[in-house]
């Protein structure tokens, strides 16, 4: 269990950021679900409930999601059910249980860039941007590659477009962590194949995505994707196993998107 020396609920984002930067071990608290499994000693915990960051708003060009929005809110949002063939509700619906998804937050999951994340894999298949208080707004793909730097994730933006997207995952049992997950999306002839929980954080298979857009055969695309994505081993599965499973998931993802097109 982690320990907190102090706990604050700032009323402005700027105040939250100042406290975050004031001391090395000051930390933003999201849902705390992952944090509580560790034993970090936190100076001041910064709790963001008073910053009005819990919402899903449909804007003209983007869907805007506040950092404190819970996974359950993603899952049951009528807006998100309408867009991208419902990939976001689908991607989060297998994470533990309803009671857990009512606690964990979008901002904490995306900012922490967890390798096991179901959400990040799905978001990466869409045109998603993250907004950091200090670092500004940038594409999710860029954020995932950046070196870790203390900051405050305030909102994410997903471009509203007719992107069709499929989410595929493999778990040892329902509600467990994914062994590997895949998202495939298509907008016009622009395809995107993403693999996550490899067990590293999600990545776009660029070459395979391009090949698919140029009309490459599914088998070839699957081979290229699983060559360019680096799979690793951990207690849940070996690299070979993840690679073999990914081949099936990518194929299913492409086939599902093709059916909807």
């Amino acid at each position: 269990m982690f320990t907190l020396l102090d706990l604050v609920q700032p009323s402005t984002i700027d105040e939250a950021y100042q406290i975050l930067m004031a001391k090395r071990n000051n930390t933003v608290l999201g849902g705390c679900a992952f944090l509580r499994l560790g034993s970090s000693r936190i100076g001041t915990g910064i709790e963001l409930s008073n910053l009005s960051l819990q919402y899903i708003k449909e804007q003209e060009e983007y869907i805007e999601i506040g950092a404190m929005t819970t996974f359950r809110e993603l899952e049951t949002s009528p807006v998100l059910a309408q867009y991208f063939t419902g990939i976001l509700p689908k991607a989060v619906s297998n994470i533990i249980g309803v009671q857990f998804r009512n606690v964990v937050t979008v901002g904490a999951s995306v900012f922490s860039r967890y390798g096991f994340s179901d959400l990040i894999t799905a978001l990466l298949a869409l045109d998603t941007e993250v907004e950091l208080y200090k670092g500004g707004r940038m594409p999710l793909a860029e954020f995932l590659l950046r070196k870790y730097e203390k900051d405050l994730l305030t909102r994410i933006f997903i471009k509203k477009e007719g992107r069709i997207a499929s989410y595929q995952h493999m778990r040892n049992s329902a509600s467990d962590f994914p062994l590997v997950n895949v998202a495939v999306s298509c907008f016009g002839d622009q395809w995107r194949i993403v693999a996550g929980a490899t067990p590293a954080r999600a990545k776009i298979a660029d070459k395979a995505s391009l090949l698919l857009g140029r009309g490459g055969a599914i088998e070839d695309v699957v081979d290229v994707a699983t060559q360019e994505i680096i799979f690793g081993s951990n207690a849940r599965g070996t690299a070979e196993y993840r690679k073999a499973m990914s081949k099936v998931l990518i194929k299913r993802g492409i086939q599902e998107v093709l059916q909807w097109k």
Partner: protein, 149 residues
Amino acid sequence: MEIKVILNHKPVTLVGEKDEFLADILRNHGRLSIRKGCNTACCGLCTVWLDGKPTLSCNILGIRAAGKEITTIEGIAQEAEEFAQVLVAEGAEQCGFCSPGFIMTVVAMKKELENPNEADIIHYLTGNLCRCTGYMGQLRAVKTYLGVK
């Protein structure tokens, strides 16, 4: 730290440490119906409602409940009794340790889902792992209680 909440329809000031989770704070407040089975956010035993939403109290910092309405099984005694009768009639009740959390989830589902099918019910109850009487008996009871097939 003091946390002002509405607990089972009554304003209450809870007292806890800054890094204390809601389950412990509520138990220290005498709400022993809150069980901690796994304490790793997996078993669903510690389920309470926060502003009407089923929530793992072992997994949420006390401060996040500030100003909110907390409902434990004591706050829905009548509905709990009604469902408990159905559970017993289906032979789906054993030691009772997991019952408060399970019942809180089932009653929340009744309020949230409209005419759910079997897959919807199973999906909603996935977060309640501790169920030694067997999942089938409980599923029968839940369907009877919800009045669905």
